[in-house]
């Protein structure tokens, strides 16, 4: 059994490991709003518990057990987000912080029943896949909107940024999950992208385009 803090470290390492093999101390510290020295302390503890593999100065990787633990927390986080949106009518930009607390509630029974109550959802309100109770989930084949070329089209199926500010912005522009879009133009000057969204032209900054995930359904 891990403390909330340990769980948060494991989750952070898990997410960081999606883009690098060896997760670095500083990256963890930045993500967790703490100091590198504190991270080193905790990493040692997690290593002692067999949840991470750790070589001094080389960063960490999750062990099998550590990874499963992290995935379980991610599962809980995402299921709670679905609950908040589907049942309690929260908006997708309001759920993150509460789910961040709820994910630590320890009851296998609770989560299994919640999963059932929600109808075994496959994705959370941001399009992220929800692992099943064995930790399995489909590797999603998303492409970042920024990587599409003029003429390409697809469906918005996810976002890679969960901040309220970002999500509210998307909402305002009408860029919500499930919407069909097509790239009409990419501005050389600032890299902003002009997209066609149900007969309407919408311009989004490069920064925004980086965090919208598309399931591509047709090349130019």
């Amino acid at each position: 059994m891990q403390s909330y803090t340990e769980e948060n470290y494991l989750k952070t390492i898990y997410h960081l490991a999606e883009s690098t093999t060896n997760v670095q101390t500083n990256a963890i510290a930045e993500q967790m709003q703490t100091k590198p020295a504190s991270v080193t302390d905790m990493i040692k503890k997690l290593a002692d518990k067999g949840l991470v593999d750790y070589i001094k100065y080389q960063g960490v990787t999750l062990t099998e057990i550590g990874k499963n633990t992290a995935i379980d927390i991610v599962r809980k986080h995402r299921l709670w987000e679905v609950f908040l949106v589907d049942k309690l009518n929260f908006k997708w930009d309001e759920v993150h912080d509460v789910a961040e607390e709820l994910e630590h509630i320890r009851s296998v029974e609770l989560i299994e029943r919640l999963d059932e109550f929600l109808g075994f959802p496959k994705a959370d309100p941001h399009g992220d896949p929800i692992p099943d109770k064995n930790g399995r989930f489909a590797k999603t084949q998303f492409i970042k909107l920024i990587e599409l070329k003029v003429g390409d089209s697809g469906t918005i199926t996810g976002v890679s940024q969960h901040s309220s500010a970002f999500l509210k912005h998307l909402e305002k522009l009408g860029l919500t999950l499930g919407k069909q879009i097509q790239i009409s133009d990419v501005t050389d000057f600032d890299g902003s992208v002009e997209i066609l969204l149900s007969d309407k032209q919408v311009n989004i900054s490069r920064e925004v385009a980086k965090h919208i995930l598309i399931s591509s359904n047709g090349k130019n």
Copy 2:
């Protein structure tokens, strides 16, 4: 903002204050499965924060703020219990421990929406009243089954013991909330009570009878 631990102390003091004016150190320690020395430490802290009034060797009482905080935690606990039973099909003897964790989730919005989602319930699965968002709730006029006389009848509307063992036992005997009962006999020897429950005779020990709460609807 209080720590989980502080919240648990406040809640415990609140419950103990239902039967005594000044809550004693040892009583808190016993209830919280900790040592009196730890209780003294925490009481000082709560007193510094203005949540309890404390005179050395004289026990504590909750201040207005402390009481409101405690009531809010009780509200959350009971709403979560309703959620677990009504929505996730937990049994009444399975909810206590999970609710004990859920009650600490800090989000006013979450609780208001949960309350609404559940249809603003007035009582939890054990018959305990749920305070509204202003902390108000009806003082319940329960009488302990043990205090009834032969011939008295009433409805089971609550229990004053939430342990799984006790609740499972009641379940087995058919003594659940809403059931009509009448006292047919009280045994001199061991104080056990013979009751009439929908044309069936059921015998319960004095210990059990102490923890069943009846809303009396007729004297002998």
